[in-house]
Symmetry: C2
C-alpha cells in the first residue's frame, strides 16, 4: 500500500500545516513515480517541465517536511545527492542497485525485517526503520556483459 493524497491531507492537517499547491505537487510527483526514486532536482524538473511553477527551494522544504511526517522516505543510492520514495506501509525495504546502468529495483522481505529486529534486540537497540542498498549487476547488464 502506497501513501495517498488522503493520508497527505490528514497528516498535514494534524500538524497544522497548509496543504498548498506546491506541497501537493511534490507529494504526488513522488507517489506517481515510485519506480523512479527521483531526487530533488528531478522532481523540480518534472514539475516545471509540465508547466507547474514551483521553486527548487520549495521542493526541498517540502521534501524535508514529508520525510519528517513519515509520508516519504529519503534513500541513498550511492550518488552524491538524496533520492526520495513514498513510504507506504513498508516499514523497511531494500534496493537492488545496478552498478552498470544505475537501475534500482525495490524488494521487501519480512524475514530480513525480523532478523534485523532481532539483531537490534540482542544489542539493546530499538529499531525504528531500516534501509538496504545492495549493489551489483542487473539481469540486462549481465547478459550484455557476457555476450
Amino acid at each position: 500500500m502506497t501513501a495517498e493524497l488522503g493520508d497527505f491531507r490528514e497528516v498535514l492537517h494534524a500538524r497544522k500545516l497548509k496543504a498548498t499547491r506546491a506541497r501537493r505537487l511534490v507529494f504526488q510527483e513522488i507517489v506517481s513515480s515510485s519506480d523512479i526514486h527521483p531526487n530533488a532536482s528531478e522532481i523540480h524538473q518534472r514539475l516545471t517541465g509540465r508547466g507547474e511553477r514551483v521553486s527548487l527551494a520549495s521542493v526541498y522544504r517540502t521534501l524535508g517536511l514529508l520525510v519528517k511526517s513519515g509520508l516519504v522516505s529519503q534513500v541513498d543510492l550511492g550518488e552524491d545527492h538524496s533520492h526520495y520514495e513514498s513510504e507506504g506501509a513498508k516499514a523497511g525495504h531494500g534496493h537492488l542497485i545496478c552498478l552498470s546502468c544505475g537501475a534500482v529495483k525495490e524488494f521487501s522481505d519480512a524475514h530480513i525485517h525480523r532478523l534485523i529486529g532481532r539483531i537490534g534486540d540482542g544489542r539493546g537497540f530499538e529499531l525504528d526503520r531500516f534501509s538496504i542498498q545492495a549493489f551489483g549487476y542487473c539481469e540486462r547488464c549481465r547478459t550484455k556483459r557476457s555476450r
Copy 2:
C-alpha cells in the same frame, strides 16, 4: 579481518599508483579508527591535529582512490556527507544508527547476507556487496528516555 598496510601497498602497486605519505596516512587513519566511521573532514582534522601536513583535497582524492580499489568503503549514515570504513573481508554488513545520539554500531550476519543474495538471484541480480542502515535508539538513549 581488516585490510592492512600490506594490502594497501600491493593494491597500489598493482594499479601503478604511488604509495605516498598522504595516502598512507589517510589509509591508516581509517583502519585504526574502524569503530568511528570518520568522514573526510574528521580524517583531515585527526591528521593535521596530530601534526601531519596533508591537505583536505588529498584526503578526498585518496578516499576516492581507496574506495575504487576496494580497500575502503563509503557509508551513508543519514548525514549530509559520506563516512568511511576499512573494507576488510566483510563483503556486506550493517549499521545500527542511533537517532538520538548518532552512535553507530556495526553488525554482520551471514544469514542476512545469504537472504539478500537469494533475493537477488530470484531477480536475475548478481550481488556484489550491500550495506544496511538500521535507524533506531541505542540502549543508552533508551534508558535515558524512559527515566
